[in-house]
Amino acid sequence: MASVAIERLGKRFGATTVLEGVDLAIPDGAFAVFVGPSGCGKSTLLRLIAGLERPTEGVIRFGERDVTALEPRERDIAMVFQSYALYPHLTVRENLAFGLKLKKLPPREIDARVAEGSRMLGLDALLERMPKQLSGGQRQRVAMGRAIVRRPGLFLFDEPLSNLDAALRGQVRVEIRKLHESLGTTSIYVTHDQVEAMTLADVMFVLNRGRVEQFGAPLDVYARPKTRFVAGFLGSPSMNFLDGTLAFEEGAWSVEVAGQRILLGEKSFGGLVRGRAVTVGVRPHDLTVERVPFGGLALTLTFVEELGGESYAYAFVDGSPFVVRLEERVSVKAGDTLHVAVAADRVHLFDRETGLSLRC
C-alpha cells in the first residue's frame, strides 16, 4: 500500500508538450480518478506513474520512495489496460499466474492466489480457456484478475470499461468499487466518462490540456467548479453558459443577458463589480419553470426531447444554446415560450476572460 505524490511532472514527445507542471497527491488507500476530455493526457500521466514512459521533468513518489527512474517491474504496481492486453498464447489460468511465476512464488502459493482471484471475479469456469474464446466482459474480468492476484501496492486502470456495453459497464463499475473496498489498495483509474468518475472516485482529478484543473471529492467538484472548463465538463447535459454583465439595482445583484435579467440576490461576494463582463453558468437541472414571468428568462423553444420521466427543452438565448430539464411532464412544444428561473446560489459566475469562478 502506498500513497502517490507527483511534483512538477512534465512530459514532452518531441515538440509536443503533453503534460506540464502536474502536482498531485493521492492518499494511501484512496481511489483516485483522472477524468478529462480525450487527448488531455490522462493515459500519459498513468503510463508515467506505471513507468512505461519516462517523464521529461518532475518527480514521482510512492510513499517515501522516489520511483521516477525505476522500471515498471520495480514499482510494485498492476495495470488493467483498455484493450485488456491478455497474453493470447496463454490460458486464463496462465494469464493469471504469469506475474506470480515471474516472481518465483512457490507453486502452492500461486495456485491459491489464482483460485482466490478467480473466485472473486467468477472466473472459475473459464480457467482453461484461451483469451480468444472469451467474451469482451470475460476478458475484462481476466485482466482485472491478473492485476488482483499480484497483490500490488497500487492498481492502475486505463479506461477498463470503455469496450463494454452500457449495462455491463454499470455492473462492473459497481464491482470495481466493491473490490476496492474489500482490498483497500490505492487505485488510480483513468476515464473520460464522468459518471464513472463521479461514482468511483474518493478523489477526482479533472485534467485539461495536460494540467490538473481541479481536484477534490467528486460532489465538491461538481457543486463548486473552479473553472468554466470543469463546470462544463461535469454534468449531463452540460451546464448552460451565457455571456452577460453584472449589475446592481435596487439593492440586489443581477446579471444582464441579452436584455433579460438573472437575479443573484443581495448577498455580495468577492469579484462582484458593477459592469464586469462575466459568463453565467446554469445547470439544466437547476432551472425551474415559472408560470408568471418574474426575474427569470423567457425562452422560445426550438425543440423538446421527452425521455419519459423527464424531458429536455432546447432554446437559444442570445445565440447560445440553452437546455432546461423539465421535472414532470410539462406539456410544451417547439415554438412555445417558457419562463424559467434559477435559485441565486445555483448561478455560477466565471470571469469571461480567464474562465475562473468568481465565487472562490
Binding site: P72, H89, L102, K103
Partner: protein
C-alpha cells in the same frame, strides 16, 4: 505387312519432299562467337562468295543441347562451328556427318583433332591453346627452360608479386606439366592416363613450385588475369582470352610458347582446341553448304579471320600478320596436343582435379592421390546397369491406375460425394487453367524427371534399368556406406548444413528483427535497407564475392587475420578450402549472410502485428527484457515464423549456388550437398542423367517426407 510397307514408302517420300524443299532455303550456319570473331564471321559470310547464308549465334553453354534437340527433328543448322572435343559426342548422337577435305594445307595436329576412326568430321578453322605471357617490365629474357624462369627476372620479386600465375589446380592447366614428363590425361583405349610415375613427377614439380611461393595458391582465371594485368606476375600461363583483357592496359608483354622442362628435356605442350566447321547430316547432302564450309576454311577466309579476329588459323599456308601476340600463340599451337575427342574425356576432369588439389594441399602424396583418381574414373566409367524388364513397371503403373479407378468408382457411388462434386463444378471452372498450368509446369517435369531416373546411359542411347540407379545410390555404389562421397555421407553433410544454417538464420534474423522493431530506434529505415541488401544482391554474385574473400593469399579474411598479427595474435593465413571444417564454415558464413535478411523481414512483419499493450502488460507484470522476449515475443511470432523456417530449410537444403560457387565441394567433394552432387553426376561425370535424376527423386522424396512430418507434428501440438 502391306500397310507397314505403304507407311514406310510414305515416310520416305515425305522426307524426300522435305529435303528438296529445304534445298531451296539459304544455308543455315550456327556458331557461338562473340565480339571480334562474330564480326569476322559475319564479314566473311557477307562477302558474297558463299551464296545465301542464314547466321545464328547460339550461346555456347546451350550449343550442344540445342544441336541435340534440333538436328534429329530436321530443324537444326546445315553447318555449325564448334570445338573439336565435342565431336565424340556429336558422332555418337549422329548430329554430325563426315566432311572430307584436303588436309595438305592444314596443321597436322588440327587434322588429327577432327579425325575420328580414320574419318574427318569437320574442316578446321582455328586453333586455341595456352601460351606463356611474359611481363617485359619484370623479365630480362625469354627463358627457354622452365627452371630458368626464376633467374630471368630483373630483381628479386617483392611480396605480393608472383613468378608464374596459372590456375594450378585445374587439370587443363596442369596438362602441359604432364606432357613435359611424357604423360597424358586420357590414354589409349579410353583408359585413365593420369597415373604412374610420369604423372607423379609432374605433380611433384607443380607442388614444388607452389611450395616455393613462385605460384599463387588457389588461383582461378580471374585472379591470374588480375595478377598479370596489374603487373604483379612476371609470367602467366593463359590463353588468348587474357590478351583480350590486356588491350587497354599499358602493360608491355610478350607471348611465347611454353618452355621446356630440363629434367626431361621435353616441351610443355598445352591442350589444343580446334574450332572447325561441321556439317549436320542434312547439310552434308547440300552442295551449297559444302561450298560454304570449304570457303570458310579457305586460305583467303583464314587470312581475313586472322586479321580481323586475331585468332590462330588452322592452316599453315596463311601468312602471319606482324602481331607478336598472334605469332606467339601460333607457335604455341604448333606444339600443342589436340584435346581428346573421346567422350571418356569428360570423366577425366573431376577425378584429376581432385587429385591435383589433394597433392597441392599436401593432404595426400601424388601416388595415392592419382590411384584414387583412377578408381574414381573407373567408377564413373563403370558400364551402365543391364537393361531391366519393363514388366514390373507396367504392372506397378497398371495396379496403381486400377486402384485409383476403383477408389474413384467407389467414391462416385457415394451420393453425398456426387452432390458435392456437382455443387463444385462451377468452382472448377475458375481453377482449371491454373491447374493446367501446374500440371504442365510442375507435375509434367516432375514425372519426366522421375521417368529419367529409371534409365541409364547417355542422352540418345539411354536404356530402361528399373530401380538400378536407386539401388546403386542407396548401396553407396557397392562401397562402404559412409565413405566420402557416398549418398549417406552427403546426406549427413546436407542435414548438418541445413540445420546449422537455419539455426543461424533464425538466431540472427530474430535478433535483428526484434531490434529493428524497437520503437525508440533512430535511423531505422537506414539499417533496414542496409540489412536487406545481402538479400537483394543476386546470390551468385554474393557467393563469388565471398569466395574471393576467403582466398588464402589475396582474400579479405586473410588480410583481416594478418592485421590481427599487429596485436600480437599469431595467426597463419588459413587455406579455407583445404579442410572440411573451414570450407564448411566458409559455406555456412556465406549462406547465413544470404539468408538472414529473409528471417529478419519475416520477424519484423510478425512484430508489427504484436500488440504493444501485451508487451507493456508483461513489463508491468515484472518481466525483464529477456523474459518478455522468450515468454511473449517468441511464442507470439512463432506461428508466422514456422512457415518461414520450413521454406528456409527447403531452400537451404537445395542451396546449390553457395556450395557450388564458394567451396565447390572442396576439399574432395566433402562439402558437397545432395543437389550439387546430383549436378556433378549430370554434368561432370559422363552425363549420367538417369543417375542424377535418381538423386533428384531422392531429394524430392526426402523433402516431401520432411514437410509431411513437420505438418504432422504441428497438427499434434498446435501453437
Amino acid at each position: 505387312m502391306l500397310a507397314a510397307r505403304l507407311l514406310a514408302f510414305g515416310v520416305a517420300t515425305f522426307a524426300l519432299l522435305v529435303s528438296t524443299l529445304a534445298g531451296a532455303s539459304p544455308v543455315r550456319l550456327w556458331h557461338a562467337y562473340r565480339g571480334e570473331e562474330q564480326r569476322a564471321l559475319e564479314a566473311l559470310v557477307a562477302s558474297g562468295a558463299a551464296g545465301e547464308v542464314e547466321l545464328l549465334a547460339v550461346p555456347s553453354d546451350a550449343f550442344a543441347a540445342k544441336l541435340g534437340a534440333a538436328i534429329p527433328l530436321g530443324e537444326g543448322p546445315d553447318l555449325f562451328i564448334d570445338a573439336h572435343e565435342r565431336l565424340g559426342d556429336y558422332v555418337r548422337q549422329g548430329l554430325v556427318a563426315e566432311l572430307p577435305f584436303d588436309p595438305a594445307a592444314f596443321a597436322p595436329s588440327a587434322v588429327r583433332g577432327v579425325t575420328l576412326a580414320g574419318r574427318t568430321y569437320g574442316i578446321p578453322l582455328s586453333r586455341k591453346c595456352v601460351a606463356l605471357y611474359v611481363n617485359r617490365d619484370l623479365v630480362l629474357s625469354h627463358p627457354e627452360w622452365l627452371e630458368d624462369l626464376a633467374s630471368s627476372v630483373r630483381s628479386p620479386l617483392a611480396s605480393g608479386y608472383v613468378l608464374l600465375a596459372y590456375e594450378n589446380r585445374s587439370a587443363y592447366y596442369h596438362a602441359p606439366w604432364l606432357t613435359a614428363f611424357g604423360g597424358e590425361l586420357l590414354a589409349e583405349g579410353d583408359r585413365f592416363g593420369f597415373v604412374g610415375e610420369r604423372a607423379e613427377r609432374s605433380l611433384e614439380l607443380a607442388k614444388n613450385w607452389l611450395d616455393r611461393g613462385w605460384v599463387p595458391s588457389n588461383a582461378d582465371g580471374a585472379l591470374v588475369a588480375q595478377l598479370f594485368r596489374s603487373g604483379r606476375a612476371a609470367f602467366a600461363i593463359s590463353g588468348p582470352w587474357l590478351a583480350g583483357d590486356l588491350h587497354s592496359e599499358s602493360l608491355r608483354y610478350d607471348v611465347v610458347p611454353l618452355p621446356k622442362v630440363r629434367v626431361t628435356g621435353l616441351v610443355m605442350r598445352p591442350m589444343l582446341t580446334i574450332e572447325a566447321v561441321m556439317a549436320s547430316p542434312r547439310g552434308a547432302r547440300r552442295p551449297e553448304a559444302l561450298k560454304l564450309a570449304t570457303w570458310l576454311a579457305s586460305r583467303e577466309a583464314a587470312g581475313e579471320r586472322m586479321r580481323r579476329a586475331h585468332v590462330v588459323s588452322a592452316r599453315t599456308d596463311v601468312e602471319l600478320p606482324a602481331d607478336p601476340v598472334l605469332r606467339g600463340f601460333s607457335a604455341a599451337a604448333d606444339s600443342a596436343v589436340p584435346m581428346p575427342t573421346s567422350t571418356a574425356m569428360r570423366a577425366v576432369w573431376e577425378p584429376s582435379e581432385k587429385a591435383i588439389r589433394k597433392v597441392l594441399n599436401g593432404t595426400l602424396d601424388p601416388r595415392s592421390a592419382l590411384r584414387e583418381a583412377q578408381r574414381r574414373f573407373d567408377d564413373v566409367r563403370r558400364p551402365p546397369p543391364p537393361p531391366a524388364s519393363r514388366t514390373p513397371l507396367v504392372i506397378a503403373i497398371g495396379a496403381a491406375l486400377i486402384a485409383a479407378a476403383l477408389a474413384l468408382v467407389r467414391r462416385a457411388r457415394d451420393p453425398v460425394f456426387r452432390a458435392e462434386v456437382r455443387a463444385s463444378v462451377p468452382a472448377y471452372r475458375y481453377v482449371i487453367h491454373a491447374a493446367l498450368v501446374l500440371v504442365l509446369l510442375v507435375f509434367g517435369p516432375l514425372c519426366a524427371g522421375a521417368a529419367i531416373s529409371l534409365t541409364a546411359g547417355r542422352p540418345g542411347d539411354s536404356v530402361y534399368v528399373g530401380l538400378a540407379n536407386f539401388w546403386a545410390i542407396l548401396s553407396a555404389r557397392g562401397g562402404p556406406l559412409f565413405a566420402s562421397g557416398s549418398f549417406y555421407c552427403v546426406l549427413a553433410v546436407t542435414v548438418a548444413w541445413t540445420l546449422l544454417n537455419v539455426a543461424c538464420h533464425l538466431a540472427l534474423g530474430l535478433t535483428l528483427g526484434v531490434l529493428l522493431s524497437r520503437p525508440v530506434l533512430r535511423m531505422k529505415a537506414v539499417y533496414r535497407v542496409l540489412l536487406i541488401l545481402p538479400w537483394a544482391v543476386p546470390s551468385y554474385v554474393t557467393a563469388l564475392a565471398w569466395k574471393g574473400m576467403f582466398h588464402r593469399q589475396f582474400g579479405a579474411v586473410t588480410a583481416l587475420l594478418l592485421r590481427a598479427r599487429a596485436f600480437g595474435v599469431d595467426v597463419e593465413p588459413i587455406d579455407w578450402f583445404a579442410r572440411f571444417s573451414t570450407a564448411f564454415a566458409a559455406n555456412v558464413a556465406t549462406n547465413v549472410w544470404l539468408g538472414f535478411p529473409f528471417m529478419m523481414v519475416v520477424t519484423m512483419a510478425a512484430m508489427t502485428s504484436l500488440p504493444r499493450e501485451v508487451l507493456e502488460a508483461a513489463e508491468v507484470d515484472g518481466a525483464t527484457r529477456w523474459q518478455r522476449f522468450t515468454k511473449i515475443v517468441v511464442p507470439l511470432v512463432r506461428p508466422s515464423m514456422i512457415p518461414a523456417v520450413a521454406l528456409g530449410a527447403v531452400w537451404t537444403f537445395n542451396m546449390f549456388n553457395v556450395v557450388f560457387l564458394v567451396s565447390g565441394g572442396e576439399p574432395d567433394g566433402q562439402t558437397d550437398i545432395l543437389v550439387s552432387e546430383a549436378y556433378r553426376w549430370a554434368f561432370t561425370r559422363q552425363a549420367q542423367y538417369g543417375y542424377a535424376a535418381a538423386y533428384s527423386v531422392l531429394i524430392f522424396g526426402l523433402l516431401f517426407g520432411a514437410t509431411r512430418l513437420s505438418d504432422w507434428f504441428r497438427r499434434k501440438a498446435p501453437l
